[in-house]
């Protein structure tokens, strides 16, 4: 089904799309139909900079299992660095 539910957060950082690097301001996260990945539903993340237009977008579509592993890996990576660097 189309799930509609969307998590939206402000982010600070940069992303790389076909046109090169650009500053990111927003990320949306949702579990819904993918566009490219061959699965019925995937965990989709759009890293966006709306002020630069809709093509300023870095998109990923991951299976639920991969998304959970990614979430865990993100925490491991952050915790492996000196805490004063990850404030």
């Amino acid at each position: 089904m189309c799930t509609y539910a969307t998590e939206k957060i402000d982010v600070t950082g940069s992303g790389k799309a076909g046109s090169g690097w650009f500053p990111l301001t927003t990320a949306t996260v949702y579990f819904d139909h993918p566009v490219h990945a061959q699965a019925e539903h995937t965990l989709n993340i759009d890293f966006l900079a709306p002020e630069r237009g809709p093509s300023a977008r870095v998109a990923v579509e991951l299976t639920a299992a991969s998304a959970r592993e990614l979430a865990a890996a993100i925490h491991v990576a952050l915790e492996s660095a000196p805490p004063e660097l990850t404030v």
């Binding site: 089904m1 189309c2 509609y4 539910a5 969307t6 566009v35 699965a39 019925e40 237009g53 093509s55």
Partner: protein
């Protein structure tokens, strides 16, 4: 009879008089003929939806698919536009109805039109096709596995989508519903709730639920594709439109 079909991008007036992009597919014959509004699904105004729009032209109908994300992302690729629309809260129901109305008026205004217009939508578009048919003077409507016609959406949904089964009372035309028995949204129970609401309001409807099929069984580019259900489904669609949109 000529099998010539033309298809191209055009601009039409949508909700609030806004100019929106649309994909128009038209056969050379017959004339006059019925027309279809194709409502794209949430992933967007994409290649697969345009193929379906052309299919209706091949069946002998003028068909138009409004780009529901024209305002959020003009000129963007279909998936970028869908992402931008999602990030800004999605398509409000009222605006959807206005855009479908714009498409309906455009189609009825064509010299080739016989005055009859139907709508079809898949997934989120299925819900929107039902919504349009309860709001506009359509002659036929097709709901392909639209979720949240009945039942409450999950908590915390940022997209303002609610159940619209109460609108069964204002359905203006015959409704064809195509569903997969293995689908959970809508589930067979949801489909039965909608059927009962239509029956209670004396509305004409025809529902088909396909075994061994779930959500998105018409989608040729997804793992959910079920050829047997899709082939049979298209035959049912053809018969339904022949009965309701013929001159």
């Amino acid at each position: 009879m000529s099998d010539l079909i033309t298809a191209r991008t055009i601009a039409i007036k949508g909700a609030n008089g806004d100019s929106i992009e649309a994909y128009l597919a038209s056969p050379d014959e017959p004339a006059p003929r019925g027309s279809m509004v194709v409502i794209h699904h949430m992933p967007g105004y994409d290649r697969a939806t345009k193929e379906m729009t052309r299919r209706f032209a091949e069946l002998g109908y003028t068909a138009i698919c409004p780009n529901l994300y024209s305002r959020e992302a003009p000129g963007a690729s279909s998936d970028d536009a869908a992402a931008a629309a999602r990030a800004s809260g999605g398509v409000p129901d009222e605006r959807l109805v206005g855009d479908v109305e714009g498409a309906l008026l455009y189609l009825r205004g064509l010299d080739s039109s016989n005055g009859k217009v139907g709508s079809i939508g898949f997934c989120s578009g299925g819900r929107q096709s039902f919504l349009a048919a309860t709001s506009l003077p359509l002659d036929a409507a097709i709901d392909c596995y639209g979720a949240f016609v009945v039942g409450e959406p999950p908590e915390g949904m940022s997209w303002k989508v609610g159940p619209i089964v109460d609108r069964a009372a204002t359905l203006n035309c015959p409704l064809l519903g195509l569903f997969g028995v293995e689908d959970t949204h809508p589930s067979p129970e949801d489909v039965e709730v909608l059927a009962q609401a239509l029956k209670a309001n004396g509305k004409e409807y025809e529902f088909h639920s396909f075994e061994n099929a779930g959500h998105a069984f018409f989608a040729v580019d997804r793992p959910a594709y079920r050829p047997q259900a899709a082939v049979e489904g298209w035959e049912i669609i053809g018969d339904f439109l022949a009965r309701n949109l013929s001159t």
